[in-house]
């Protein structure tokens, strides 16, 4: 097996939802030993999703991670958490300050457990300040971070049915941890890092923040039209809800584009002769292009445009991603088992609900390729972690299991 970049690094994940588990998914794929600590007494709500196959969503977050059950609210549970942290390089959580204090695990204390420990705390709107301690969900962050006001139509905000900035946060989390590991390698020092979901979304508005300061410009919601390029949009194609995007960014591409659509007379109109003309008359331009695309297959439009050197791409749906020869050539998706949650039973007894596909980390490292593999059951690694790592005897593990400490 190929070596992994972060081999030998141990990470404790104590958190839920999307942004934190995705960061540790990445770290696990890079070879870190990630131990996800959770309790069956307060399960991650995302076990309910998706509706059509509950449980399969977990494959998006759990591959390659070790998993232990532990109830830190019990005194012995808290002690075991401390022992785990002492055996680790990195501790990552997105729980609130109040909850962590209640468990007897405030950050000052956690940091004192081990020299060189790297602690990452992912927060919502931040730990301090007027909104300090406020909770956030990524789905709403597109509004808080102004993204939804920068796209869309004049009437409607451009809203994505996605937990927008959670993903940015996840990569900041991962970046911070690897940076801190590198710093520790050099200096021997650990550190404490906070990553708010809010800030990680706001940084994706960058140029607009400067534009407002410099020019008092507030971004217009211009549908798919670009401020500087035209044509630029998603054009309707044959079939139901089928679209192909086309973006013309210079004169060369405009000429090539006109050729593909058969050099119609209208394209020679002075209304479209230069980029500023096209931007000014984008509405008419778009409707003419839409007439041309609407009788054609989206893939055909894309291929014709690409052949002529015009940037284009269909609006993919799940079926397109599934059938994509390109993604197959990268081995982007792989198939594995997932489980059906039964909150009354230990995680080890949850049945296999089926198999489905999940994605590999989209970073291809030539010497230390990212790993991929199955997700572990909830509590699957109790014996390894508590026995081998912490040196508990089997009878002690059994006892603590019976007492509900490992629930």
């Amino acid at each position: 097996m190929a070596k992994k970049a972060l081999e030998g690094v141990r990470v404790i994940e104590f958190g839920l939802y999307i942004a934190l588990p995705l960061a540790t998914r990445m770290l696990a794929a890079l070879g870190a030993e990630v131990i996800k600590v959770e309790t069956l007494t307060a399960l991650d709500m995302s076990w309910y999703g998706p509706m059509y196959a509950p449980g399969c969503l977990q494959l998006e977050y759990r591959p390659l991670k070790r998993n232990v059950t532990l109830d830190v609210r019990q005194p012995r549970g808290k002690e075991i958490m401390e022992e785990l942290i002492k055996k680790s390089d990195v501790y990552m959580t997105n729980l609130g300050e109040g909850a962590l204090a209640k468990y007897g695990l405030p950050f000052k204390h956690v940091q004192s457990l081990k020299k060189g420990l790297i602690v990452l705390w992912q927060t919502g709107l931040g730990s301090v300040g007027p909104y300090g301690g406020f909770k956030a969900y990524g789905r709403l962050m597109q509004h808080a971070c102004a993204i939804s006001t920068m796209g869309g139509t004049p009437d409607n905000l451009g809203v994505a049915n996605i937990s927008y900035s959670d993903y940015h946060t996840s990569m900041f989390n991962a970046l911070a941890v690897i940076g801190a590991l590198e710093r520790r390698r050099r200096t021997g020092e650990g550190c404490f890092i906070e990553c708010p979901i809010y800030e990680s979304g706001v940084v994706t508005v960058g140029p607009a923040l400067l534009d407002y300061q410099s020019n008092k410009v507030v971004p217009e919601r211009r549908q798919n039209r670009h401020r500087y390029f035209a044509p630029h949009g998603a054009y309707p194609c044959q079939g139901t809800d089928r679209w192909c995007t086309i973006a013309v960014t210079n004169e060369e591409e405009w000429k090539a584009f006109c050729k593909v659509i058969g050099n119609p007379a209208w394209a020679k109109s002075p209304k479209f002769s230069t980029a500023p003309d096209r931007v000014k008359n984008a509405q008419e331009l778009d409707s003419r292009i839409g007439k041309w695309t609407s009788t054609r297959d989206a893939y055909d439009v894309m291929k014709k445009m690409q052949k002529a050197g015009v940037p284009s791409g269909i609006v993919s749906k799940g079926e397109d991603l599934d059938k994509s020869e390109h993604l197959k050539s990268h081995g982007f998706y792989y198939e594995t088992e997932y489980y059906s949650a039964d909150f009354e039973k230990p995680g080890m007894e949850w049945p296999v609900a089926g198999t489905t596909v999940t994605w590999k980390e989209p970073v291809y490292l030539s010497d230390t390729p990212c790993g991929f593999g199955p997700m572990h059951k909830v509590g699957q690694d109790n014996d390894y972690v508590y026995g081998k790592l912490l040196g508990m005897s089997q009878s002690e593990i059994n006892k603590l299991t019976e007492e509900g400490v490992f629930k």
Partner: protein
């Protein structure tokens, strides 16, 4: 674009005004905002010893920015006429000028700049000298371009075995689409994200702010740092880090499980507008002065919200057992729940709902626009901004980044002028004389 049947989301219909933006409550102006961190006392940072040669265009510039803002020495290698990003709007005071592109200024903080024509044989030779001094080269050229110059990874590896080459391209280095041309909107569409943005029965929409320029670079920065960590810890060798912007963007909406859904139901995700299709209540709700967004995931959050709704509206319906539960339990009664929530949000201002909601542990978020971010109290209170002085555009405040830590410094300098570091690198390091520099400049090498 041919508008299909105009169909607005259920909430938005009843708001002819449209948006909160006009009547947005003024965020306190931060007159007393402390100045950004003083550069002298800047912590060492995460990557102080690494040298990154940044050849990337807009598709990969954010990767170099992330590394530079964390302390690496990132040197942009620009063609003598300047990076094309310099000609990309918006511009400072709307003046089109290669040193005034705000797009360039944002994506190139903390970096240096040298000019070099790597297509010119003499320029290529200089580039090879530089590669010997570098830890990382970041590039986002069309696939095959570096090979055509004899500067692909196998060649660079021979020159400097410790080098990490990071490539950020729309579809990665291999596969049938690797040669496809793509702008932001095309990558956004091909990733499937676009299928999820906008109103049902209307065209799919691209998100504002050219969002595909971020995820690929974030993955690239993570992969680059992992490669450096492995090199210095274990192998003493570099490697090639290859990132597909399409796949990065696919992973940024994975919660909707597009492919499992297609395989299991033969259905595709689609646009649902301002309201979440699954979680209820979750989305945009009208309030006294515009819009507010809120989302209820746990049973406790619903209990808190429903109690509050009852206190405000006096409508006991909302307390009924059939509405209780978490995440998706209110799916069957979605319309009724949304009506109950709207009846409540309509009675209060956005700010009231935001502050009181958070106090009650209900996740409520304001609908901010760009001006409200620039003036936001929370960001202002946190040292989020750093004021950087640029020789041409002067002082502007820039986001410091998303990470807060005593171990991490702020961006060190504003984006570089074209060739600002030529003398330092060419004369100071590579020991060219000023006369040589004049020759190189006159012959178009730098």
């Amino acid at each position: 674009m041919p508008e299909k049947k105009k169909l607005q989301g259920p909430v938005l219909k009843s708001r002819p005004e449209g948006l909160v933006l006009k009547s947005r409550p003024e965020g306190p102006v931060l007159k007393s905002r402390p100045e950004g961190p003083v550069l002298k006392s800047r912590p060492e940072g995460f990557l102080p010893k690494y040298r990154v040669l940044d050849l990337a265009n807009e598709k990969g510039a954010y990767c170099g920015k992330l590394l530079a803002d964390l302390g690496a020495e990132v040197i942009k290698v620009e063609p003598p006429c300047g990076d094309k990003m310099r000609l990309r709007g918006p511009f400072f005071k709307n003046e089109v000028h290669p040193e005034k592109s705000l797009f360039f200024l944002y994506f190139n903080t903390s970096k240096g700049s040298i000019t070099l024509d790597i297509e010119n044989p003499a320029g290529k030779e200089i580039f090879i000298k530089l590669v010997k001094t570098a830890d990382v080269v970041v590039e986002s050229f069309p696939v095959g371009y570096l090979r055509s110059l004899g500067l692909d990874y196998p060649k660079l590896k021979k020159i400097n075995p410790k080098l990490v080459l990071t490539s950020i391209t729309p579809y990665g280095q291999k596969g049938p689409l690797s040669g496809y041309k793509a702008e932001d909107i095309n990558i956004f569409a091909m990733s499937g994200y676009m299928q999820l943005v906008g109103e049902p029965d209307q065209a799919p929409l691209v998100l504002g702010g050219e969002q595909t320029f971020y995820p690929g670079s974030q993955y690239a920065a993570v992969g680059t740092m992992a490669a450096l960590f492995y090199r210095d810890n274990v192998s003493k060798k570099g490697q090639h880090v290859d990132v597909s912007m399409q796949e990065a963007m696919i992973s940024y909406w994975q919660e909707q499980t597009p492919v499992p859904m297609w395989q299991k139901t033969q259905e595709n995700n689609t646009r649902v507008g301002a309201m979440d299709a699954m979680v209820t209540p979750c989305g945009l709700y009208p309030c006294k002065d515009g819009w507010i967004s809120l989302c209820v995931v746990t049973p406790q959050e619903w209990d808190a919200l429903s109690q509050w709704i009852y206190e405000v509206t006096g409508n006991a319906e909302v307390l009924k057992d059939e509405y209780k539960g978490g995440l998706i339990s209110r799916m069957p009664v979605r319309d009724m729940v949304n009506v109950l929530v709207m009846e409540f949000t309509d009675k209060l201002t956005g700010r009231e709902i935001f502050l009181e909601g958070q106090k009650r542990k209900v996740v409520v978020m304001p609908v901010n626009d760009v001006p409200s971010l620039v003036n936001d109290t929370q960001l202002g209170s946190r040292n989020f901004w750093v004021t950087l002085d640029h020789p041409v555009v002067g002082k502007l405040k820039y986001p410091k980044g998303a990470l807060y830590s005593d171990a991490i410094g702020a961006p060190a300098r504003a984006a570089p002028l074209l060739g600002e570091d030529n003398e330092r690198i060419y004369c100071g390091e590579l020991k060219y004389s000023k006369e040589d520099l004049a020759v190189l400049r006159t012959t178009g090498v730098i």
